[in-house]
């Protein structure tokens, strides 16, 4: 995400930081933080080689990890990449949660932010982590050379040991740390001094993620598990619409609930807060509150179903609206006028909800004088949480002590700039001067959901004389996600373009000379956020369905059509060929439908084939098989890549088949997992994942398969039943409508 536009200055800035030994590790070793969960600290005091690495005389190597861990594994992968170039023995390594200091620990591939999102963590930190590891190794070698009075060139390393072959002498990293002298500036490491992929010992070999065993014995700690002495519990009754406020509050019944401590009308639409001695008392009292809210002229009038037709009319140009250019290649749409033939296709996607398994919550402990705070929350951005705590309480950031915990899922919900899940705990703790754990119920989590936006797409394609695709025009109408989720980035680096909605419309690996994608942003007053797959999920449903439609209409096999479109992109062709082989595409079984989709997701090449069967009476689609071939560059942790891809497929199935948020008179119509239906084991197809190896830098894996699923299924339906499904989720009712003649190709 935005990776291409970021110069690698981060590396040089950080390269100077070696010797900044004053940077203490003690800060992160206290409290409930992750550090405790990882491994005990060394008894002897370690030498801090740079802000990332400290080595103790007993050989324990502590490596900072700035990633948030939500199950995607990068909190383990980053230190592993550093350890590779350091040539550390992995069993000596202890992972430490990096403190929320973006100057040092920000992701150079993500605008320098400490923000675990966009599948950009391993991608963004890969090169700097290798540099840092190599620098420390060099310092260790220099110290050993000095000690022995030999040339550095005569030395080599084995895991955690320096070896002088001529004399057979060996010194462990721990021994060297005990006498190491650090240079005033970091040694320069040229790219060709880094290991070549063939020399990797750790990268490419699976290790168990540091926290995985704690998820098998129940000892993993999420924010919701934190208990601190004197802690009370909070629940929030939030306004239905983001911009309405409590008008009247009848809290007599709520106050009568045993264990209730207080009820507070909180500012800025945070809602009415209940504080109680137990969670159950807080929930019971919240349910007993009678609150009337001020009306919301905009949000209160919104109706998603009715609005969808309007969105589609905007995309079609029937309602005129100013477009924002997102991406352009060649002559844009000029070629449409001279095209031999044109085709158009329209697609729609409904709102969708993250449904991370841990409902949002936070613990805050504001000091008696209100001038400092300690917080525990599962956030995708440690630095944002600190900023929000400071600004909400009007205190300096240095007065915020952040404790890192594991995240019970993120998927984008724990990354908004306003860190909405933290604010209630801050305000209530300040009111009652006690630590507070604010818990959202699942119903609160949906009611306060921040959704993947609803979207309407229209694509028009022009073909030349030889039938080649020459022009591509994609018009997207959605609410503006970026402006809501992250106004800072929207008005700053995004240059007022809604990257979070439009990503995925660019098609750089398809040889289509003239392309244009543009955004028609609508302000419906709905709360929004990026969600696993970001803009790709909706946009690829449109583009990959339309590519398929174009191929079928012209009587060309969808695989052959894509192979010809990717003629100048060998890595794309490789994943297409791989998935064709896995699924036996060229000898497909009759009786079931096969559908193909391919994506270039920020450089990761991925292709998938769905095999489906349909019940033509109920309209139900069932997946039998889903094959995926993925080339994410260097595969840092192959089994984790497979796991992430399996999970992404399951997530994408939900988006494709069942998950739907609807809004009527501004109110979210869904409230729990009975009416927001996600995939369960009974829905699971056989999923096969193949990693297509390449040696390029890693480009991300955490969500790349999610957007493959809907178009692959839609394309399979087109093959099996001859109808085109144009609206996700592909609910049985929509399938039946299509089968009954609504959407014939």
């Amino acid at each position: 995400m935005l990776r291409r536009s970021i110069p690698e200055t981060g590396v040089t800035r950080r390269a100077l930081m070696i010797g900044a030994a004053g940077l203490s590790f003690a800060f992160v070793e206290r409290g409930f933080g992750l550090a405790d969960a990882i491994s005990p600290a060394s008894a002897a005091s370690p030498t801090t080689f740079n802000p990332w690495v400290a080595i103790a005389p007993d050989g324990l190597i502590s490596i900072m990890s700035p990633a948030a861990e939500m199950g995607q594994g990068s909190k383990t992968s980053l230190p592993l990449i550093l350890a590779e170039e350091l040539d550390a023995d992995w069993k000596d390594v202890r992972i430490v949660a990096a403190p929320p200091n973006e100057e040092i620990y920000g992701n150079p591939g993500f605008l320098g932010m400490m923000y675990t999102a966009g599948s950009a963590t391993v991608a963004g930190y890969y090169t700097p982590m290798r540099q840092f590891g190599a620098q420390v190794r060099r310092v260790i070698l220099d110290n050993a050379a000095r000690k022995w009075g030999v040339a550095v060139s005569e030395l080599r390393t084995e895991p955690s040991v320096v070896v002088h072959d001529k004399t057979g002498r060996r010194l462990s990293y721990g021994e060297i740390a005990s006498f190491a002298v650090l240079p005033p500036t970091a040694p320069q490491i040229n790219p060709d001094e880094l290991k070549r992929p063939g020399q990797f010992r750790l990268i490419g070999n699976d290790v168990t993620r540091f926290e995985l065993p704690t998820k098998v014995d129940g000892s993993a700690r999420y924010a919701i598990d934190i208990q601190v002495p004197g802690m009370l519990y909070g629940a929030l009754l939030t306004p239905v619409f983001p911009d309405s406020r409590a008008k009247t509050i009848d809290d007599a019944a709520a106050r009568a609930v045993h264990g209730v401590v207080g009820i507070y009308n909180l500012p800025n639409g945070v809602g009415v807060g209940v504080v109680a001695e137990t969670p159950w008392a807080a929930f019971t009292a919240k349910d007993a509150l009678r609150v009337s809210w001020t009306p919301s002229p905009k949000a209160g009038a919104f109706d998603s179903e009715a609005s969808m037709d309007r969105y589609a009319a905007i995309s079609r140009g029937e309602i005129s609206q100013q477009a924002t250019l997102w991406d352009k290649a060649g002559d844009g749409t000029d070629g449409l006028e001279t095209a031999t033939e044109t085709l158009t296709g329209e697609y729609r996607c409904d709102y969708a909800y993250h449904a991370q398994m841990e409902p949002l919550n936070a613990v805050a402990s504001v000091s008696e004088d209100g001038n400092s705070v300690e917080i525990w929350c599962g956030t995708q951005s440690q630095a944002m949480a600190v900023r929000v705590a400071a600004s909400t309480l009007g205190i300096d950031r240095s007065k915020v002590k952040f404790n890192e915990v594991l995240l019970g899922g993120g998927f984008g919900r724990r990354g908004p700039q306003d860190q909405d899940f933290l604010v209630g705990a801050l305000l209530l703790s300040r009111e009652v001067k006690r630590p507070i754990k604010v818990l959202w119920t699942r119903e609160d989590d949906i009611r306060n959901g921040r959704f993947r936006p609803m979207s309407a797409h229209r694509i028009e394609a022009g073909f030349g004389k030889g039938g080649e695709l020459t022009t591509w025009h994609h018009r997207v109408t959605t609410d503006n996600v970026s402006i809501f989720q992250d106004p800072g980035r929207y008005y700053g680096p995004f240059k007022q373009r809604d990257m979070l909605s439009l990503l995925g419309t660019e098609l750089p690996t398809y040889s289509i000379p003239n392309r244009l994608s543009e955004h028609f942003a609508v302000d419906s007053g709905v709360r929004l956020a990026s969600l696993r797959g970001i803009g790709f999920t909706a946009n690829k449903f449109a583009t990959e369905s339309f590519v398929d439609e174009s191929a079928r209409k012209r009587g060309i096999d969808p695989l052959e059509f894509r192979l010809s479109l990717t003629r100048n992109a060998p890595r794309a062709r490789a994943v297409l060929e791989a998935v064709a082989e896995m699924s036996n595409w060229r000898q497909r079984r009759p009786g079931s439908g096969y559908g193909l989709a391919y994506i270039d997701y920020s450089g990761t090449q991925i292709a998938g084939v769905a095999e489906i069967v349909m019940d033509r009476t109920s309209g139900e689609i069932r997946l039998k098989n889903f094959w995926v071939a993925i080339d994410p560059g260097v595969a840092v942790q192959p089994d984790n890549i497979v796991a992430q891809t399996e999970g992404s497929v399951v997530y994408g199935m939900g988006m494709a088949l069942s998950e739907q948020i609807t809004i009527k008179d501004g109110e979210i119509q869904q409230s729990n997992f009975y009416d927001y239906t996600v995939m369960r084991m009974r829905d699971l197809p056989n999923i096969e994942v193949r990693i297509v190896r390449s040696d390029g830098r890693p480009t991300g894996v955490g969500q790349m398969a999610t957007p493959l699923v809907a178009p692959a299924i839609g394309n399979a339906v087109a093959e099996l039943a001859g109808v085109r499904l144009r609206h996700t989720p592909m609910l049985p009712s929509r399938v039946l409508a299509a089968l009954n003649g609504g959407a014939r190709q």
Partner: protein
Amino acid sequence: MIVHFTVNGSRAEADAPPETPLLWVLREHLKLPGTRFGCGAGLCGACMVHIDGDRAFSCQTQLSGIEGRAVTTIEGLSKDSTHPVQKAWLKEQVPQCGYCQSGQIMSAAALLKHSPHPTRDEIVDYMSAHICRCGTYPRILRAIERASREG
């Protein structure tokens, strides 16, 4: 209301309103947070425990109903992750965010106790009481089959 029961083999008592869900008693009163809150409505299985050896949604079990009964949570399934289901979970590297996994493991253990060699359909049917938003279902399935095989 004061209720007496056992948790993971030890005597426990809790003083709370009778309708309080066992889930919150375990998590906040008894400080056993390995049993998770996911939906509070019997829809996700994150809160699964054993009561007298059978699986039960602790969010749907009222405190008043457990007088004298034996509750087992993930913390009590084994001392050191040596229950066959836990061993298989580690071998198959099942958890991602991990939040659903205590419940999944408790269900898998209950399933194998009642049916040591379940068919795939039985596993799918039984485990579909759970939601794993991270989509670890393929690995859960493999881990249960492994635990059934390796015991």
